[in-house]
């Protein structure tokens, strides 16, 4: 765990990390449109989640780092994917701070060590998650998310089955992606936190690959998937999608993308399907033995997800507003819980509860106040704390505003600050009790057993001496047995690349596909 001291240099860095997120907060919220739902009080639960993050993240992230450092969690995430954490972790937390500043409940000089620590944790995780491209966010890469290593991408490329609009596989894949996206919005209470895309990855002059990850689909952390998700055999599913004559020109830190021209069914030319979690050796193929098997697998999963969608909708439509508020807030707040699973320290009491310090503000969160206060915080950037002197020109708008408050450097003179919100406090929930069932790649486990296995399991590519064998090492050592062994981990379940080693070029992979 990093040992952070309050120094001038540290404050300079923390304020910079805050500002990086502030600029992107406005851009994302202004360009991605508002979320609304007749079922969920969306803005109200978003505000509720911000408060929960502010009070709980410092303790929970420290608990996680006692078991595994943030940068090592990033290594694991690069093996098996993770939910969108790039923007969410710092911004949910910092927007909670911003709310409390505008209420006068805290000063901008309060909880200094907490904020420095949360931002530092985020920085180290992000640098590790982005290790293969050297950036800290997709934004820094001009909105591109190239996360995975060559050895994984070669397998995705090689094993994807060609398809054309109107054929059985294409039709099945399209229906599956529509159905799972629909289910994802419902599971995540109208948010997009089930769905995470990254890429694009270059496949040919006129082809790119988009990796679409759908996470938390089965019985797992959310109490509302108990029973509903029992017949869904995978908690996470990854669709690899190769597109032609369509360029993904933007993939942001919310994991959503835009393309030129607009992506349509006819652009999809090859697909694959995988599942991965923190207990698997990377991405394991699902129904990838043949084109027919993959078509059947997509169709089977589509039917299962449709049944689950109807059951879940019926359940959610009958929820009380407090239950809706809790569920939505916990989905947002819970983006950090995958860290706890990876580290093997997940506790339902930590992640599926509203902290009593946030809970006391629940009566404020009616629909109208929720919509308008959230609008001021992330859209208009018009809260008093966000207004700056008249010479200021904010990125994107030129307005004299900023989305997130800095720390005043005067703290270094007068010592007028506080360090932390303090430790964990009890939490509450209006949702039904969670069954002790967690769907993983190693079967349905209890929370205790899942944590035990998470603490023991280390993917081979994250073990010594492979952990630090990066793309730059491969570049100069691809002809060594160690490189073959490294590539062999990803190739172990590959239809076309098993045992092919580290020496293949992209053209070699394409040639193997053409022979298949």
């Amino acid at each position: 765990m990093s040992d952070i001291k309050l120094t001038y240099a540290q404050l300079l860095e923390t304020n910079n990390l805050i500002q990086q997120n502030a600029d992107e907060t406005y851009w994302l919220c202004a360009t991605r449109t508002v979320q609304e739902s007749k079922i969920f009080p969306v803005s109200a639960y978003i505000l509720f989640s911000y408060l929960n993050c502010f009070y709980r993240y410092p303790s929970l992230l420290k608990k996680i780092e006692e078991a595994m450092p943030a940068e090592e969690i990033g290594d694991r995430a690069r093996q098996s994917g993770i939910k969108i954490v790039a923007w969410t972790i710092p911004c949910f937390y910092l927007l909670g701070r911003e709310m409390l500043i505008n209420w006068g409940v805290i000063k901008p000089t309060d909880a200094v060590h907490d904020v420095m620590y949360v931002m530092d944790f985020w920085k180290r995780f992000q640098l590790s998650w982005h290790r293969n491209n050297g950036n800290i966010t997709n934004r820094q890469a001009d909105h591109r998310g190239q996360i995975y290593a060559e050895q994984k991408l070669q397998v995705f490329h090689a094993d994807a089955f060609e398809c054309r609009e109107g054929d059985e596989l294409h039709t099945a894949a399209q229906a599956f992606m529509a159905t799972i996206a629909q289910y994802g919005f419902l599971v995540s209470c109208e948010s997009r936190l089930t769905i995470h895309n990254h890429g694009p990855y270059k496949i040919a002059d006129n082809r790119e690959m988009l990796v679409r990850e759908f996470r938390e689909l089965a019985e797992y952390d959310y109490p509302w998937l108990d029973g509903v998700g029992r017949d869904i055999p995978y908690n996470n599913l990854t669709v690899t999608m190769i597109i032609e004559d369509c360029h993904i020109n933007l993939l942001d830190d919310w994991g959503s993308f835009e393309s030129e021209p607009e992506l349509r069914a006819e652009h999809i030319k090859a697909v694959g399907l995988y599942s991965a979690d923190n207990l698997s050796e990377g991405h394991v193929p699902v129904g990838m033995g043949s084109r027919e098997e993959l078509t059947e697998t997509f169709n089977d999963l589509t039917e299962r997800i449709k049944v689950a969608t109807t059951r879940l909708w019926e359940e959610m439509a009958g929820w009380t507003r407090d239950q809706q508020l809790d569920a939505g807030a916990l989905v947002y707040f819970g983006v950090g819980k995958e860290f706890a699973h990876i580290a093997g320290v997940y506790d339902e009491e930590d992640w599926m509860r509203i902290d009593e310090r946030a809970e006391r503000f629940r009566p404020l969160l009616n629909d109208e106040y929720g919509n308008l206060f959230l609008g001021e915080l992330v859209g208009y950037i018009s809260c008093p704390s966000q207004r700056m002197h008249e010479y200021t020109m904010m990125m994107h708008t030129g307005q004299p505003r900023r989305a997130l408050s800095y720390f005043p450097y005067s703290m270094l003179n007068d010592g007028d600050y506080t360090e932390s919100v303090g430790g964990m406090r009890p939490g509450v929930t209006n949702l039904p009790a969670k069954n002790d069932r967690y769907r993983t790649s190693q079967g349905v486990l209890t929370q205790e057993e899942y944590n035990r296995r998470s603490r023991e399991f280390v993917p081979r590519s994250c073990q010594e001496p492979f952990r630090f064998l990066c793309a730059d090492w491969v570049k100069y050592h691809y002809d060594t047995p160690l490189a073959d062994e490294l590539f062999g981990f990803e190739q172990a379940n590959s239809r076309l690349l098993k045992g092919k080693g580290a020496g293949l070029s992209r053209a070699d992979v394409e040639a193997l596909r053409n022979k298949d």
Binding site: I39, R264, N366, T418
Partner: protein, 248 residues
């Protein structure tokens, strides 16, 4: 009364929206009062005594004071006015014989083909031909449940005002087309109709289209792009009424 750190602010003004200002000012008043009562330094109060002295009951009292003035909140979730009709305005979702009557909806008399212009919207994806079907308002969970239990007619063009992906989740794929009175072509509903290949207009402005009317939707028009929104370009496509049905 104690003075708060944020009470001295060279650049800060009031919030843009009166209810936000009213609520935030009320919470600040409460903090001033409890901080003064504590007699403590801020360092001892914040994250300490403050947790015990600023309570949920205080927040309920803030709301109660606003409601006592006769204020009623605008609802967005159906559960809000259903559970607390005394605190929220009527959502209007259950109004009989409802139709959208947007003042900015373009209208024109019937053309040579008998089509009356009755609105416009942002096309999500360009399709080869315009869409013709029967308009059905789907604005509540009860209506979605009705669709689930009684089925959806093949030519149903659903008119909704929720741009999210949850309200219509179990029935969306059954619709022939969708007209949504909110959102943009990037909204969750737009994403889903694109995935399902269901013709869809977002941000529709309609006038005079009733449940059961036959309508034509210009989904052969150009889709509205992110660039169109960013540059404020109007790329509206049209909605026509073909005939009026009294069946409702």
């Amino acid at each position: 009364m104690a003075k708060l750190f944020v009470d001295t602010d060279k650049y800060g003004y009031q919030s843009d929206f009166p209810i936000v200002e009213a609520y935030n000012a009320a919470v600040k008043d409460l903090v001033r009062e409890r901080f003064a009562q504590s007699g403590q330094d801020w360092k001892d109060f914040v994250f300490g005594t403050e947790y015990e002295t600023i309570t949920k009951a205080d927040m309920e009292a803030i709301e109660a004071r606003l409601l006592a003035y006769g204020y009623r909140f605008e609802p967005s979730a159906m559960s809000s006015p259903r559970e607390r009709p005394e605190a929220y305005k009527d959502s209007g979702l259950y109004a009989e014989d409802f139709s959208f009557e947007h003042p900015e909806a373009p209208t024109a008399p019937a053309d040579a083909d008998g089509r009356e212009l009755r609105g416009c919207g942002d096309n999500v994806v360009t399709h080869r031909e315009n869409l013709v079907g029967t308009a059905r308002y789907v604005r509540t969970t009860d209506k979605v449940l009705e669709c689930l239990t009684q089925g959806v007619a093949d030519d149903t063009i659903a008119i909704v005002d929720d741009s999210g992906g949850t309200l219509t989740a179990p029935v969306l794929e059954k619709f022939h087309g969708v007209l949504c009175a909110g959102g943009t072509t990037r909204s969750h509903l737009a994403i889903l109709t694109r995935e399902y290949n269901i013709p869809c207009f977002m941000n529709v402005r309609l006038a005079g289209i009733k449940d059961g009317d036959r309508i034509e939707v210009e989904v052969s028009a150009r889709g509205k792009t992110a660039e169109d929104y960013e540059q404020g370009r109007d790329a509206s496509a049209r909605v026509w009424r073909l005939s009026r049905t009294d069946a409702g």
